[in-house]
Symmetry: C2
Subunit: 431 residues, 2 copies
């Protein structure tokens, strides 16, 4: 297989890089129209529409919503059905993710000024959150952990999971993850109809305040449309890894780390920046040798061919500058002195520091969240966290003395803006 080589010294490199990174998401007209219809139907008729779509799209012979809710006993049974090894791995991962996220909880605060005026910020959890879990190939128990745990750590009272079961096929690992994380209710529905049910509520399913979790193009478009009625997490693009190497690592490790990203899907992006031309060739040789051994080699090959690159850079400073331009979802610093380069990185979802810090550990069990900003959005957004399930309310408690001092300032500024009722409401409190 051939993987693109690039050289940061070549003229036109940045344009070539931008072309490699370019990705136009967005749904096509057919998806848009279907989502419009589904949202309207569920909003209008509730359960009936959800049942009808589930019969049609997931081929489930059901007549009522009760048949689409899984009892807790079934979640516990799924957990019990796993091998001891799998169950313990899930529990260990959940514990580590929980411990990390517990450090993210924000606390309410306030302060009182000399005149008795008290100002503050009250932090409260969201009441109710919907968690979308895809069915089929992309149905990942690790996603249940990564979405459910921060919500529960934040104190969300009710967490409702939806997961389609096309043809009735359930993923026991996903149900086990729901049991471990304390998901409150699980419905076997999916697609835009599940998003609509969570966003608007139905006779059976209560309206949630926020919807999180990955999904296909229909789900992504539905989430985009219901944003405002409910909160949503980011609409994710293809997954990405950028590896910065000084040639000190093991080329097989680097090749496999590139594969791990590429195996997600054909649009996933795996890029290596390396100061050592010989090491780049060694990685290319590892890719050649290891690719045939991979069960998902076709996906990997297509992803690497269309969206991957091995890029020769002049220096690690240049590599960091390019990384900041890319703002990658995952950044591996595969460097001898990796720690000293962390502060050169301004934009990344997660930084994996040193040769032992392979992305797969972060995907499953290191502790930090694996839901990370894609498509350069690490410039302005953050990993999913407890903060996504808490919100703030300003507390403004003005004393009588405070109202005298602040009222004069507010009055002047309000008159300056031509808002006389604002001014007078402040002036009325002046003695």
């Amino acid at each position: 297989m051939t993987i693109r080589r690039m050289n940061a010294r070549e003229p036109g490199f940045l344009a070539e890089l931008d072309a490699l990174l370019a990705f136009e998401g967005g749904a096509d007209a057919r998806i848009n129209d279907a989502v419009t219809d589904i949202l309207a139907a569920v909003r209008t008729t509730g359960d009936a529409a959800v049942i009808e779509y589930t019969r049609r799209f997931d081929r489930l012979d059901v007549s009522g919503m009760a048949q689409l809710e899984l009892p807790h006993s079934e979640l516990r049974a799924a957990l019990g059905s796993l091998s001891v090894e799998q169950r313990e791995a899930l529990r260990e991962a959940a514990d580590r993710v929980r411990r990390y996220h517990e450090r993210q909880t924000a606390e309410s605060w306030s302060y009182t000024e000399e005149d008795g005026t008290r100002l503050g910020q009250k932090v409260t959890p969201l009441d109710r959150v919907g968690l979308y879990v895809p069915g089929g190939r992309a149905s990942y128990p690790s996603s249940v952990l990564m979405n459910a745990i921060p919500a529960k750590v934040a104190g969300v009272k009710e967490l409702i999971m939806v997961v389609p079961t096309p043809g009735g096929e359930k993923n026991p690992l996903v149900l086990a993850a729901a049991a471990i994380t304390g998901v409150d209710r699980v419905f076997t529905i999916g697609g835009a109809q599940a998003v609509a049910a969570l966003a608007y509520g139905t006779q059976t399913l209560p309206q949630v305040d926020k919807i999180v979790g990955p999904g296909n193009a229909y789900v992504a478009e539905a989430k985009r449309r219901v944003f405002g009625t409910v909160g949503i997490d980011m609409v994710a693009g293809p997954s990405e890894v950028l590896i910065i190497s000084d040639g000190s690592g093991n080329p097989d490790w680097v090749a496999m780390d590139l594969f791990a990203q590429a195996e997600h899907d054909e649009l996933a992006q795996s890029i290596l920046l390396c100061t050592d031309a010989d090491f780049i060739e060694a990685v290319a040789a590892s890719i050649e040798r290891l690719l045939p051994t991979m069960p998902r080699r076709d996906t990997i090959a297509t992803s690497l061919k269309n969206r991957g690159a091995l890029i020769h850079v002049e220096s690690l400073e240049q590599a960091c500058a390019i990384a900041n331009r890319i703002a990658p979802e995952h950044l591996e610093l595969s460097l001898e002195d990796a720690g000293q380069w962390v502060d050169h990185i301004r934009h990344a979802g997660a930084i994996f520091v040193g040769h032992w810090s392979v992305e797969a550990l972060g995907d499953y069990c290191a502790g930090p969240n694996h839901v990370l900003p894609t498509m350069r959005s690490a410039r302005f957004s953050s990993p999913l966290g407890v903060y996504d399930f808490q919100k703030r309310t300003s507390i403004i408690e003005i004393s009588e003395a405070g109202a005298q001092k602040l009222g004069r300032v507010a009055s002047i500024l309000a008159h300056g803006e031509g808002l006389q009722a604002h001014a007078r409401s402040a002036e009325m409190r002046l003695k």
Copy 2:
């Protein structure tokens, strides 16, 4: 004027309330099409398109972008041109807003486990932010303070303000606020073309990472479209106030507080919940008496008539339950013992506690931000704050020993998900 009376005891009250709250935002087809064209033109031709739209929409006879940038000297001159009283009021407001927001800055953190594995979260400011300020009637210096100060407190390196000046008319208070808050560059452009220029960058205007600030329907739609390419703040709906009263206050104060919300525009929403039927009539009488004295009485009357209500409730518990359903942008607790009711409120943008805590003080100078979640989005979102201008990056530094322990867990879970390259990238690190 007649303002709607409602009674929470009546059957059908909740349906009536929901109908009162209902507001369908969203742009119409004409606006959608115009925004599509403008975004495409600016993305393709940059400065030339921005100049052409500015000539057309703002009637400015300019031929180059340099003519559309205001030098710092002009901002300082605007500040110097204000009355001493206005300048001091602006400075006092800015100081208080800054002091409050300084309490919101998040710090990086990390912890090291026994085996040497280090996990953490690195907090960094956004590089570059665009601040949209409307022209004309809604051009508010207080909005400049409320948007610019948290960005600067967060450490944003470059803050670029855009403000249209139709017919060349500039608002000296807005320019003075830009001077006080340390805005780095100011361009006299507006509309969807300004949003496009900030989102995509042009030959003159560098691409920003996030766009904040209010605007008309074109601006709102343009922001919605460029979301993903850049971050945006919320797309705000009409402004709202909910006042909970036990009848202990001054009816004139309550009436004027309702006016202050209603004077923003005809869609603004002002609602009173009160346990005391006589007090409701007193407020209605105050409205009748005070309305003719208000310069913006037509806007106030339309807003109160179409979207306002005086609602009789049975108890303060019921009032709080209704408030949580409404999740108002602004909530005034106009109560004798207001402090004890704060914890009954789960959803609100800002809570004004007690009779002295009038919303206008919060709008200008109390300290907390006046950019608040509208249209029930306080269920899941927060006031604008320093946290909107900072982002987080996960730090994952695994020790050799950590890679042994975590690698086994990751391997089991990755095989469970059918992601063999994930598993092997972890297994390769096992000794």
